[in-house]
């Protein structure tokens, strides 16, 4: 079976709650809409679609598309081609930044720190499941200007690392719109905010610019550099709509992974109802960096991620991993489960078969937060 099948899962039909707003190019805070409690915040239709070639190669220059009025042509190009293109990006990012910063919050739950983004007038805040931890916990939110308000954690999709929280203190917030998964294209420019290293007194949420590197049903990758403390913070498109929530990182600076916005859209009702769903990995932040298939003796390596620990330890495509820390396991899922039970930085003994020979190597696991 092709290993990619493991990542595929059937999308449920999208709940058709979508309220189509007038297309506004610049991000405007929500606020004009009437919303019932618990209703998913409305999303707007995009005013421009970045039409990348329907990807056999994302590098092929996109076909020329007439950008709607107001949309800078640079956002339909494979790369900026001139000083004017760079200025157009700068105009857009600087125009958006203030509202994006205002919608971003620091989050303290017990001893854990993370980030989040306010998406509705009634104080719903998107975050990562590993920041929220579990439903019903007390949360201290730190607004962009240092003000502190209270709230609680709601439901979680543990598998996708999506979590929801709500501010319970009365108040008015700058809110960000939720974007549309279907409009996100590889190569789209994007902005990340959040609190790297946790909230620092006197430091506003930190702005980073990058591009969408990869898009899957279960994850978005960007080159907006993230670090611990950013978890739960938002990734925005060039209209200031949330397209992802920071979840984890890899050893390369361009390996920054975000929960796709569709996870919140599809799981909204269950998260509002404080449900925990989507499976629960036991510890879940260690990563070895292999792709694999089931094998009678364990799991066969079908891909080794460049720069990840498995590669550094010398594992190769075709190796059959048979034991982790002396424990045998069933299939690739069994291997994944054993890895997830470790902590980043742990050194694990990996036994594998190559050309019929049994060998053991030590692999130092990396973090994927």
């Amino acid at each position: 079976m092709a290993s990619i099948r493991r990542t595929a899962f059937h999308r449920r039909a999208l709940p058709l709650l979508t309220v189509v707003l007038a297309a506004a190019f610049f991000a405007a805070p929500l606020g004009a809409q009437e919303k019932k409690g618990g209703e998913r915040p409305a999303k707007s239709a995009g005013s421009f679609a970045v039409a990348n070639a329907p990807s056999t190669s994302a590098d092929a220059a996109p076909p020329p598309v007439a950008a709607p009025a107001g949309a800078a042509a640079v956002f339909t190009k494979a790369v900026p081609e001139s000083l004017e293109d760079l200025r157009a990006i700068e105009r857009q990012v600087t125009a958006l930044s203030e509202d994006l910063i205002r919608a971003t919050v620091g989050v303290r739950i017990g001893r854990a720190q993370g980030s989040g983004v306010i998406v509705s007038d009634d104080g719903y805040v998107l975050t990562a499941a590993h920041v929220a931890g579990s439903p019903g916990r007390e949360v201290e939110f730190i607004l962009h200007d240092g003000r502190k308000v209270r709230g609680k954690t709601l439901g979680l999709h543990r598998g996708l690392d999506a979590g929801l929280m709500q501010i319970t203190t009365e108040g008015k917030w700058t809110v960000a719109e939720m974007g549309d998964m279907d409009e996100i294209r590889v190569g789209d420019w994007c902005v990340a905010t959040g609190h790297p290293g946790g909230y620092h007194d006197g430091r506003a949420p930190v702005v980073r610019l990058g591009r969408v590197v990869l898009k899957r049903d279960s994850v978005i990758q960007s080159d907006c550099a993230l670090v611990g403390g950013d978890s739960g913070g938002p990734l925005f498109d060039m209209q200031g709509r949330v397209i992802g929530i920071h979840s984890r990182i890899g050893p390369s600076i361009v390996w920054n992974f975000h929960v796709p916005i569709s996870a919140y859209e599809e799981g909204w009702e269950r998260m509002v109802a404080s449900e925990v769903f989507g499976g629960r990995p036991s510890r879940g932040s260690a990563v070895m960096g292999v792709n694999g298939d089931d094998h009678a003796e364990g799991a066969e390596v079908t891909g080794v991620s460049e720069g990840f620990p498995a590669e550094e330890a010398g594992l190769r495509v075709g190796d059959v991993i048979t034991k982790i820390e002396g424990k045998s396991f069933k299939g690739f899922d069994g291997l994944a489960q054993l890895v997830l039970e470790q902590e980043p930085g742990d050194v694990v003994e990996v036994e594998f078969l190559r050309d019929g020979k049994r060998t053991t190597v030590k692999v130092t696991l990396a973090a994927r937060e």
Binding site: S3, T7, F9, S55, E81, L83, D85, L86, I89, E90, V93, T94, R158, G159, L160, V186, P196, G202, R203, A204, V206, V207, R208, L209, G210, R211, V212, V213, L214, S218, V219, Q221, A225, L226, V227, I249, G250, S252, I253, F277, G278, G279, P281, G284, A286, V287, M288, N291, G292, G303, S305, E306, F308, D333, A336, V339, G345, A366, A367, R368
Partner: protein, 369 residues
């Protein structure tokens, strides 16, 4: 695969779906991002990719002529900025050691001497033998104040394209000083401080200190209690090297310990994450005012100018401080200092070793590659 079977119950499928997603996130996507996957953005189209930096060619045409590569004993240690035709060059002070020279665009190299060092900002003024080089160009400074959050900042090197590009992440602020730590816990002992624990990867461990050693002096100053030791170390910055005298059994021994920072000693995971994506500057804390930007820089790429889209100097890159952050001393802080630096107000004193002598290069950290 069994778990793809449509006959399975919904709940089970949810769990498996979650697991599949975790597996995907943890183990597959790194590979997908790096491998020849038609749907991932190619390296050259990333924010800092060559094709994107190509658009900045005209931006750095002039600035690359004011930029120098500072060499110590012929090895590149930093960039620098030519401030006028007399051959004065600004750079990062704490990287300087050994015989200094500056390499200009086009390959010419001239010997350089330290004229002044401003410890608070970590700026150094060098003078190169201007006669050796005709027609020295001089920097043009941005007059309009700091660029806004989200505005492009461009780091020129000596080549046609910038070394790296990014955006302003946080408006100017003070970067708080962090005190250095030996990486030990201590207890009072008669006429000294007894080491009761040594943290792994700490300066104390690397220098060869042992549990049970009794610290009796720091840089020749007697230590009579654990409180006295803490007081002496707290005034020092991470990266500084102290001469530590200990009593081990009957013998007195001396060690040279390079101080770490508390993050390294106590929050190993946070520190590990910050180093994922590249090395950091040793002196990266304690600046009276700095702009934070998201440009990826190596420590040896600090010390030179960072410019706006008009090619005007916004500031001097002073530190690579973490996976998400680089710092620049803003132009408006540098310009008032220049006259004093040139006038010799901050000249290194002959009788004492220059401040650079006690700030060594970062100690090699085995296993942290």
């Amino acid at each position: 695969m069994q778990h793809d079977s449509p006959t399975r119950g919904t709940a089970r499928r949810d769990i498996l779906r979650g697991l599949a997603a975790w597996t995907a996130a943890a183990l597959l996507f790194g590979a997908a991002g790096a491998a020849a996957n038609a749907q991932s953005l190619s390296e050259r189209r990333l924010r800092n990719g060559a094709s994107v930096r190509e658009a900045f060619r005209s931006v750095v045409a002039e600035p690359s002529r004011w930029t120098v590569r500072v060499l110590a004993d012929k090895k590149p240690i930093a960039f620098g900025l030519i401030v006028d035709k007399e051959g004065y060059v600004l750079t990062k002070a704490s990287e300087l050691n050994g015989g200094l020279a500056c390499e200009l665009k086009g390959g010419k190299t001239a010997a350089a001497e330290i004229v002044g060092i401003h410890p608070e900002t970590d700026l150094a003024l060098l003078k190169i033998a201007a006669k050796a080089i005709e027609d020295l160009p001089a920097a043009a400074w941005r007059q309009a104040g700091d660029p806004p959050v989200g505005g492009w900042v461009v780091t020129p090197g000596l080549d046609e394209l910038p070394v790296s590009v990014g955006v302003v992440s946080v408006a100017r602020r003070e970067i708080k000083r962090q005190s250095g730590v030996l990486g030990v816990t201590i207890a009072d002992e008669e006429d000294g401080a007894k080491i009761t624990r040594i943290f792994s990867n700490s300066g104390a461990e690397r220098a060869g200190l042992k549990v049970g050693d009794i610290v009796t002096a720091i840089d020749g100053t007697a230590v009579k209690s654990s409180e006295a030791l803490t007081g002496l170390v707290r005034t020092q910055l991470p990266g500084q090297t102290l001469r530590v005298t200990v009593r081990r059994g009957e013998k007195a021994e001396q060690f040279r310990v390079t101080l770490g920072d508390a993050m390294d000693a106590f929050f190993e995971r946070g520190s590990l994450q910050n180093r994922m994506g590249g090395d950091l500057s040793t002196r990266r804390y304690g600046f009276p005012v700095a702009l934070q930007h998201d440009t990826y820089l190596k420590p040896t790429e600090c010390g030179g100018p960072v410019v706006d889209l008009e090619g005007r100097v916004v500031g001097l890159n002073i530190a690579r401080a973490g996976r998400t952050e680089s710092y620049a001393i803003p132009a408006s802080e540098i310009l008032p200092l220049l006259a004093d630096l040139k006038a010799g107000k901050y000249a290194p004193k002959d009788l004492e070793p220059p401040p650079t002598a006690v700030i060594g290069p970062p100690a090699p950290e085995p296993g942290n590659k």
